[in-house]
Symmetry: C2
DNA sequence: GCAAAATAGAAGTCATCACTCCGCTTATCG
DNA sequence: CGATAAGCGGAGTGATGACTTCTATTTTGC
C-alpha cells in the first residue's frame, strides 16, 4: 500500500474536474476519449484511474455530493437554524443553475440514483437531516417534511430552474418552493 | 398526397405506443431493433415511419406533450377556474409518477428540450397560460408567476417525485409545491 | 380480384465507442 | 546520479447498433 505518485494524484483530480464540466455540458453520451482529451491526458491514463466509464461518472457524481454535504454541514453548524435550510437550498440550486444535470447524468448512464448508497450519499442525507430538524424546531419549516422529500425537492427545484427564462423567473421558482416549505 | 393506408396508420400508432413504454422502461439506450420487436413490426417498417432514432424519440415526446396539452385544455374549459390549475398539476405529476423520464429521455438523446418549439409545445404553453391566468384571476395562485416557471415547476415536481419513498412522501412534495403556488 | 402500397426481416455496411496492450517517460528513493 | 517501477500516451481491437437494401409475402382500396 505505497502512496500513489504525485502526478497520479494530480491527474486523477484533473480528470474528475474536467469530466464534470464536459459531462454536464454535453451529457453522458460524450466519448471517454473526448473527456481524456479535454483533461489533457491519454485514454490509457483515464482508464487506469477509472476502469469503466460508469465508474468515472459515479466518481464525478460522488464528488458533487460530497461538496453538497460539506456545504450543508457548514450551514448546519455555523448558520442560524431558522434560515440555514432555505439558505442551503438557495445556494445549492444557484450552484447547479448553469447546468443542472446532476442526477440526470447518472440516469442516462443507466445507473439508478436511488440505489446509490455510498458514503457521500449518507453524509448528505445526514447533514440535510440536521438542517431540516433545526429549521423545524425553529418553526420556519413545516413539520411534516422528511429527508427523502427534501432531497427530491432539491433535485426537482434544480430541474425546474432549467426552464426559467431569466434570473427573475428563477427567483420566482425558488420563491414558490421556499414559500411552500414554510410551516403552514 | 394520397392518404396513407389503414395498416400504415395502425402501425405508426403501434410503434409510438410501444416505443414509449420501452423507452421509458429501459432508457434511450435500447436498440431500435428491440423496439421494433416489442412493437411486433419489422425493422424496415420502423425505419420507414421514423427515418431516425431521434425522430422516433421526438415523436414519442411530442405525443406525450399533446396528451398533456389536451388534459390542460379540457380542465381550462370545463373545470373550476379556481382549482383547475392545481388539479392539472396533481394529475400530470401523478401520471408521470410511474416513470418520469419525460425530458430526461430527450436529454440523454442529445436533444435540447428547451429548443423544441413544435406545435405540441406551443399548444401546451397556451393551455397552461389559460389555466394560469384563470387561477390568478380567481385569486388562488400568486400573481407573479408566469408560464415558463409553471412548466419548470411541472417538470421539477415530476422529478422530485422520483425521490419520495412512498405515497405519503409524494403527497407531501405535492403539498409543498401547491402551497407555494398559492397567492401570498 | 387485382394493382399498388405496405410489411417482415435477413443480411450487410459503416461509424462509433468502450476498453486493452505495450513501448516509452518520469517521479521517487537510495 | 542512476536504477526501477509507477505512471503515461495513444494506436489498435472487438462489439454494438443505427441505418440500408432487397425479396418474398401480405394487406388494402377500388
Amino acid at each position: 500500500m505505497t502512496p500513489p505518485r504525485a502526478d497520479a494524484v494530480r491527474n486523477r483530480a484533473r480528470i474528475l474536474d474536467t469530466a464534470e464540466q464536459v459531462l454536464v455540458e454535453h451529457g453522458t453520451t460524450v466519448s471517454t476519449e473526448e473527456i481524456a482529451k479535454a483533461a489533457g491526458v491519454g485514454i490509457g491514463t483515464l482508464f487506469r484511474h477509472f476502469p469503466t466509464k460508469e465508474e468515472l461518472i459515479r466518481g464525478v457524481f460522488e464528488a458533487r455530493l460530497e461538496r453538497l454535504a460539506a456545504d450543508a454541514t457548514r450551514l448546519a453548524t455555523e448558520g442560524d437554524p431558522a434560515t440555514a435550510l432555505p439558505a442551503f437550498l438557495r445556494q445549492a440550486v444557484e450552484q447547479s443553475e448553469v447546468k443542472n444535470a446532476l442526477a440526470g447524468m447518472l440516469a442516462s448512464a443507466g445507473v439508478d440514483v436511488h440505489e446509490l448508497s455510498g458514503a457521500p450519499q449518507r453524509a448528505l442525507r445526514e447533514a440535510l437531516g440536521t438542517l431540516l430538524h433545526k429549521a423545524q424546531q425553529a418553526g420556519t419549516v413545516r413539520r411534516d417534511l422528511e429527508v427523502p422529500e427534501l432531497i427530491g425537492l432539491l433535485a426537482g427545484t434544480s430541474k425546474a430552474m432549467e426552464y426559467a427564462g431569466d434570473a427573475a423567473g428563477r427567483h420566482r421558482i425558488l420563491a414558490v418552493v421556499l414559500d411552500g416549505l414554510r410551516a403552514t
